[in-house]
């Protein structure tokens, strides 16, 4: 495996023939994706949808939401690799809400995202949310 390489394609055609290798997974990416990077994209998308749903449900739909998910792969005591952390960061432009409410909804959105529940089997999930732009000022 150390010298092998592969390619990843999606059934929908949304992406295809993405190269990946062990070196790009655990060292420098060199333009290649990795399972963990794809999971980061999955988690960011899942959480973004969930938070958009929570905000709309609270009567304050999001105008613009920017989500970063960072997944950490690390070597654990027995020498094997594990996914140990996923950090979610949301920057949201929402009228008529406050930072506390946004943080509460973000925590709830993470719990409501199916992928958070699953990945918690192996990783610590953290959630942070920042309110951006125009607010009602109180």
């Amino acid at each position: 495996m150390a010298r092998g390489s592969g390619a990843i394609s999606a059934a929908t055609g949304a992406f295809s023939e993405l190269p990946y290798s062990l070196a790009s997974r655990v060292e420098r990416p060199d333009g290649k994706t990795s399972p963990e990077e794809l999971l980061a994209a999955a988690h960011a998308a899942c959480f973004a949808m969930s938070l958009a749903g929570e905000l709309a449900g609270a009567g304050t739909p999001v105008e613009h939401l920017d989500v970063h998910a960072t997944i950490t792969l690390d070597q654990v005591e027995d020498g094997s690799h594990r996914i140990v952390a996923s950090e979610l960061l949301a920057r949201a432009r929402v009228k008529e809400t406050d930072a506390d409410t946004l943080n509460r909804l973000a925590a709830s959105a993470s719990e409501g995202c199916p992928f958070t529940k699953l990945i918690e089997a192996s990783a610590t999930v953290t959630v942070n949310a920042i309110l951006e732009g125009d607010t009602d000022g109180d």
Partner: protein
Amino acid sequence: MATDRTAEVTWHGDLMSGSGRVDSVTSGAIGGLDVDWAARSEDAQSKTSPEELIAAAHAACFSMALSHALGQAGHPADELKSSATVTFQPGEGITKIALQVAGNVPGMSQDDFRQAAETAKENCPVSKALTGVPEITLDARLEG
């Protein structure tokens, strides 16, 4: 050494009628992928979804683990063709993942290949992170 990989997604509007995009990732290998709820829960219409990205991650992780195990066993694979199908049930979550692999591995028996594939399925880091999925199946066969 710990490895961090980040993905960035933007979203506009509510869940049902809004839409988003996977803008960028650390490696730059993917970007500009549209996502929305209808495509995720009904007909994909050429759009990706969190579950499709998980499928790609799992198939890639499984392939690496199996390739490693076969190499260690003295039977490096000429080629492995793997797929993962993730089933998403709205309101319930991910209910099933079906892994399939067809391998071209000189000098290896079907039974040994199936055993190696089963071990890779159990041990790859993505499998370890997805132990909460109610059902993960594996169909492993040698070709040629």
